[in-house]
């Protein structure tokens, strides 16, 4: 009887783990950002916060009507960006970059970035909670 209970508990716990893994991989993403609101932003970096637990890149984006909006773009922890080559020296304030991100559910000018691109075409993954931000081309199949 004891053994039967142990086996049932192990199977249930294992199944729970299997199903929870893909959910937990995205949970902070789903709480704040909207996968149906992808945005492409081109602008000038105004601030680089390589801080724990999550980094932020701030940039001024000029709209078609000439108005400027300051966007905040979330990435992974500093170590993830460092491994991808991002430091305050390689991404100084004033850099011109293009960012692909998902916008905040609240609709404000914030997003979680998948990657950014320098003008010369070098692409850097942001290592955060956005689908694909770790460079995996097919996040949905994880």
């Amino acid at each position: 009887m004891r053994n039967a209970i142990t086996i049932v508990c192990t199977v249930v716990a294992g199944a729970a783990l299997l199903f929870s893994a893909p959910v937990s991989a995205h949970h902070s993403f789903a709480a704040a950002y909207d996968e149906s609101k992808p945005v492409n932003l081109q602008g000038v970096v105004t601030q680089v916060e390589l801080v724990n637990p999550h980094s932020w890149i701030w940039m001024d984006v000029t709209q078609e009507d000439g108005t400027v909006t300051n966007w905040g773009l979330e990435g992974g922890p500093p170590i993830n960006l460092f491994r991808n080559g991002v430091t305050k020296d390689t991404l100084p304030v004033g850099s011109e970059i293009t960012v692909f991100a998902y916008q905040a559910k609240s609709g404000e000018s914030k997003g979680v970035a998948v990657f950014f691109e320098y003008l010369d075409g070098r692409k850097v993954f942001m290592g955060g909670s956005a689908p694909g931000a770790d460079g995996n081309p097919s996040p949905r199949t994880r």
Partner: protein, 167 residues
Amino acid sequence: MSLLSFCEWLAATPPSIALHESHYMFLIVLTVHVLTLCVFVGTAVMIDLRLLGLTMLHVPASEVVRRLVPWAGGGFLVMVISGLLLFYAAPVDRYENLFFRAKMAMLVLAGVNAWVFHKKVYRSIAEWDLDPVPPPGARLAGGLALALWAGLILAGRMIPYQLYWFG
């Protein structure tokens, strides 16, 4: 000096910035905080359940306390030290965080609860040490502690979400 300006001063000290921007140290401290939280709350819950008369009914309450308090105390100490370091990494963010404030308020209440239990209820332990279900005062202290620690953990886990919901 207001609390906010103190936090601003703290945030500008070099070790605070180094910890906030660190590659590994912040993550190590965060891990230590969660692991020692498990040691502390894991053992404290067993004490609280004994006070509620829900487990180890035939072990004297004083023996449960005596055996588990060193583990709970040790876990609490390292948990608080790592928690202070996590606060030190981002003092202004924490100061402005509603969940962090709620967490600190519950920490104070949990401290008062433990102090009252120790000063009032535990004094008379000889009278109810062998009772499977301790007197109402002890049950109240155990129940309050369980609720407060659960609330504390919940508020702690919610701290990063303030940014998204009230930022």
